[in-house]
């Protein structure tokens, strides 16, 4: 794959009046990467994208594309193409005219354009649909036309603003694979915005987790999932169980945490926070539902949790057990269905164990509110 054109955000600040929409973002995006910005609604994802595409001038800091400072270069002059949250196809132009609008601007002849449109229509698996109007296509088809229109401009960087959010679940999952394949085929940098962590995890090479204008963590999907660097990232990406408490003792990369509900528990300090947590600090500990295993009743120690079962659920491939958790929230435990049977019942007390490597200790912080 060609190296592709990288994008860098250097100490990027974007303010609307007194409101800070993006705070000191530092991001390096490799050329040819599928890079996602993941964060809840209103955290400033679109704002970052608009700064990259040139619709918004940063209040401070720089946007570099291919190492070149983009300051003062308008959106029509940048090597980026943006796919809008609502697609923004031109309703009065036929599909093929929509797709080749960027060529029309450069003065290409109708024949050339038609030919290119047919190629792209083949690529997005919509052959012979060029003469329709966008309104005559289905949601998923419109989606693909928007992608073709952006690709036709031969951008170095494709920017996608939650392009799948308007589609139904089935189609959304299908389009994930399709998008990923298209990206591999064309080999250009994709910057993808989403609030759906599943989308980000399945498609991206790298992910930036955002919260209220701040980038909490950048890394590949596994790192973000297994080794979150803030309480927010830990609670926003995937399901997670939180244990609040204070640090009792730190030894190497493990910390002993005095939890409010479950006694003293051991956890691995997340990579980003090693050396930063010390005894007496407020801390949070996260264990994923699938990281628990059943333990003999009554086992005690620094990697056992005992709690009361509030609910049970059979999901086919797993048993979900809900227990009284921290801060009034339910704790979820997910045990793979291996044909075993449980003698667990609502209201009973149950003991679980976990591998210390699978529990993450983090400084206390805001949690995602879902």
């Amino acid at each position: 794959m060609s190296a592709g054109v990288g994008v860098d955000l250097e100490n990027l600040w974007i303010r609307f009046g007194d409101f800070v929409a993006v705070r000191d973002a530092k991001v390096h995006i490799n050329g040819g990467d599928f890079f996602s910005f993941l964060g809840p609604s209103g955290c400033g994802k679109t704002t970052i994208l608009r700064a990259v595409s040139g619709f918004l001038e940063p209040s401070e800091g720089q946007v570099l594309i291919g190492g070149k400072d983009m300051k003062g270069i308008g959106p029509n002059k940048r090597p980026t193409a943006l796919i809008f949250q609502n697609l923004a196809l031109f309703p009065l132009m036929k599909v093929w005219e929509n797709i080749t609008f960027s060529m029309e601007i450069k003065g290409a002849s109708a024949r050339e354009r038609r030919k290119r449109a047919d190629e792209l229509l083949d690529m997005i698996a919509l052959p012979d649909q060029g003469d329709k109007l966008p309104s005559e296509l289905s949601g998923g088809q419109r989606q693909r036309v928007a992608i073709a229109r952006a690709l036709c401009a031969e951008p170095d960087v494709l920017l996608l603003d939650e392009p799948l959010s308007a589609l139904d679940l089935k189609l959304r999952q299908h389009m994930r694979t399709e998008l990923r394949e298209i990206q591999k085929r064309v080999g250009i940098t994709f910057i993808y915005i989403t609030h759906d962590q599943g989308e980000a995890l399945t498609m991206s090479d790298n992910i930036a987790v955002m919260r209220a204008g701040v980038i909490d963590q950048i890394g590949d999907g596994k790192t973000i999932y297994n080794d979150p660097s803030t309480a927010f990232a830990a609670s926003f990406v995937g399901e997670n169980n939180v244990f609040r408490g204070t640090v009792k003792q730190v030894q190497g990369d493990t910390a002993l945490i005095a939890t409010n509900r479950s006694g003293d528990l051991l956890a691995r300090v997340s990579s980003a926070n090693q050396g930063k947590m010390k005894a007496g600090d407020d801390a949070m500990m996260f264990i994923r539902p699938e990281a628990f295993a059943l333990a003999p009743v009554g086992s005690e120690g620094d990697h056992f949790v005992t709690a009361t079962v509030t609910n049970e659920e059979f999901e086919g491939n797993a048993f979900n057990i809900f227990m009284e958790g921290d801060g009034g929230k339910e704790m979820k435990v997910s045990l793979p269905n291996l044909g075993q049977s449980f003698d667990s019942h609502k209201g009973q007390s149950m003991t679980l164990q976990y591998d210390v490597q699978n529990a993450v200790a983090l400084p206390a912080g805001d949690l995602a509110t879902e």
């Binding site: 595409s53 040139g54 619709f55 308008g74 959106p75 029509n76 002059k77 980026t80 193409a81 943006l82 809008f84 949250q85 609502n86 923004a88 196809l89 031109f90 309703p91 009065l92 132009m93 609008f101 960027s102 029309e104 601007i105 450069k106 229109r149 401009a153």
Partner: protein
Amino acid sequence: MPRFLKEFFDRNGLGIGSLMLGLVLFWTIGLIIMPQLSMLDFSFRPNLPPPEIGGPKDVYTMENYKYLVFGPEGGSQDFNAVDLKVFYRTLIAAVFVTIFNLILCYPIAYYLAQTKGNHIRIFALMLIIPYWINEILRAFALRIIFGETGVLNNLLVAAGVFDTPFDFIRNDIALYAGLGYAYILLMIFPIYNVIESLDRNQIEAARDMGASWPMIHRRVVIPYAKPGISSGCTMVFMLSAGALAAPQILGGPSSLWFTQLIYQQFNDNSDWPQGAAYAVVLLVTCILLVLAVMRLFKVDMGDIGK
């Protein structure tokens, strides 16, 4: 009963439905179609003193229409050059007023529709409030501005642009300015209405793909705004061609507007049939012209109502 009528009554109930339908029918038939038909009837009759109306001389005739084309019978000229020229000039001038208005109002409408913020409301109010003032007063205000010793001349002479005052009125500049100004809102609002519903992302998408502003307007905004543009142009054209106050007040002494001829026939000559014939010719020509232009630009009649 046709389906749409049934639905209409189902939705509004028989009482309210009949009342609404009755009022609309009274408005269109009683107040518009009937009087116009009676005018049409007038236009085909000779101008007779009241006792002879309904008498043996009261027969249908084309003489009122012939008069517009050929002038008085046995007159010195082959054609009624004076009136025809006024007719022609009126139509051309109305076309130009319309085009000028469109060029002026499209950017204003675009700006109003695509800019957010409170100042837009103030801007719109500033456009609307002058229309609370009576049309005739507004025309006289323009006379004060454009007159020989008017504000504009005083300024221009003081600034040294002209040595002697320029006669804006004799040169019809005041007239065109007045006509242009009179119908500005009728051009701005239909265009504004359509552009306001245009998704800003479409403009940005075009821009993102490298389009220049003229290109964006040509390919994205104007096609979208076409119904509004047609509706505005139609209204401005019809009303300019049919305007009376502005030409009366702002027109130069030697330049007549066709409506002034019609007015003279009705009022000064008391020749209602002749006036009616002139009015019918003006109306029919304007409608045909509008239809032809709509055809040229592929505008549907339904678009106008948008």
